[in-house]
């Protein structure tokens, strides 16, 4: 009987630190930046924010790659500033709700259909992988015009 009580006490002690629940995974659109003239990686000073939102996603960061969060709607709109030249990008996609577990919850994955964009700094966009899942991989390559000497 004493052993049984000890077992209960050990289980009670163990239960004090058992309730750890992981957050659900997240799917991000991974974008790489390449120089449209040389096809080499380019590192512009980048600021990104969602149209209609006040919070910036990325602020003045020098990057070659970026992860973008898509919305639960059928399209997601971003303003992207490359070295203070602003472009608008619209990602048209399908949103698929996924189940992680009852401990962590649900998340979204996406299938990218098309991309609309302005051409201030963006030359073109190439879709590498249209499936945006919890396993992050390069989804699109964004070819950016190099800055002219006078703009540097």
């Amino acid at each position: 009987m004493k052993r049984f009580l000890y077992l209960i006490l050990i289980l009670m002690a163990g239960s004090a630190c058992k309730e750890v629940f992981e957050a659900p995974p997240q799917a991000f659109l991974q974008v790489s930046f390449l120089n449209s003239s040389t096809n080499n990686p380019i590192f512009p000073s980048t600021t990104v924010w969602g149209i209609g939102l006040e919070n910036l996603w990325v602020k003045d960061s020098v990057l070659h790659e970026i992860l973008l969060p898509l919305s639960a709607n059928d399209s997601t709109n971003f303003l992207i500033s490359f070295d203070s030249h602003i472009d608008t990008i619209t990602f048209n996609h399908e949103t698929i709700q996924k189940y992680a577990s009852m401990e962590s919850g649900f998340y979204f994955e996406y299938k990218l259909h098309s991309i609309d964009y302005t051409h201030n700094r963006i030359d073109s966009i190439h879709i590498i992988d249209s499936l945006i899942t919890k396993k992050w991989n390069e989804n699109i390559i964004l070819y950016i015009h190099p800055l002219s000497v006078g703009n540097n």
Binding site: G14, A72, T76, Y99, M102, G105, F108
Partner: protein, 241 residues
């Protein structure tokens, strides 16, 4: 967990093959305790079910009762039935799963009795278990840069069934009062599933995503001292009249 699953399957196969080998040799010693020791029906309650919350993730509670009797010497048909409830509430999800389950099976005692009053048993058993249950996601939230998305999934009813292999002990502590434990390996056979969300918790089994689970029970029993064989034999002369 996959290692445990395969270990369990190997043990099962080894037991079956051992049994076959024994049959071939025909050297099984005859038992000297070939008599009914426990007359009546034994009613039990698993005292661990209300405290499962202590060692499982989420809030899991339940209750379980059992009935067994020594129908043939050393063979005990068993019926077990219970109810379990599980709740998980985090910032991302509010989940409730609940339902009743039952198991039918038989235990075989391989502990030789010293005399008719020796009612302690060491047994192995097999069970077929099934559950009728439901689950509901009262609310979920998906956090995002674009703002949180909330939603819910209504009540989903499902059926699940599984097999169990167990080993245990029951000892008489006072006249007609017993205590005992079992260790159970459970192998899932099948369950109803949904596109979204999947079945998470099967009452009486555990997490639905697992093909094999291990469980432990500790029960108290009372043997209702009703000798049905005697009652039947007493009735026979009456019926002739």
């Amino acid at each position: 967990m996959r290692i445990l699953y395969y270990t369990f399957i190997l043990c099962l196969l080894a037991t079956i093959s051992f049994g076959q080998a024994e049959q071939k040799k025909k050297v099984v010693p005859k038992r000297t305790d070939n008599y009914i020791r426990m007359t009546g029906i034994r009613v039990g309650m698993d005292v661990t079910r209300p405290f499962q919350d202590l060692w499982t993730k989420g809030n899991r509670y339940g209750s379980e009762f059992s009935l067994d009797m020594e129908l043939w010497p050393n063979w005990f048909p068993v019926f077990e039935s219970g109810y379990e409830f599980m709740k998980i509430k985090t910032s991302n999800i509010d989940f409730t799963g609940k339902g009743s389950y039952s198991r039918l099976g038989i235990d075989y005692n391989f502990l030789q009795a010293e005399n008719k009053n020796d009612k302690d048993i060491l047994f192995v058993g097999l069970r077929y278990g099934f559950a009728l249950a439901s689950q509901q996601v009262n609310q979920y939230q998906i956090d995002s840069y674009w703002g949180p998305i909330t939603g819910r999934f209504g009540n989903q009813n499902f059926f699940a069934h599984w097999g169990e292999f167990l080993i245990g002990l029951k000892g008489e502590v006072f006249h007609n009062f017993y205590i005992g434990w079992t260790i159970r390996g459970k192998v899932k056979m099948n369950h109803t599933d949904f596109v979204l969300p999947s079945v998470y918790f099967i009452p009486g089994y555990g997490k639905a995503e697992k093909k094999f689970t291990l469980d432990f029970t500790y029960s108290v029993y009372y043997n209702i001292p009703w000798d049905f064989r005697k009652s039947l034999s007493d009735k026979k002369p009456d019926s002739k009249k």
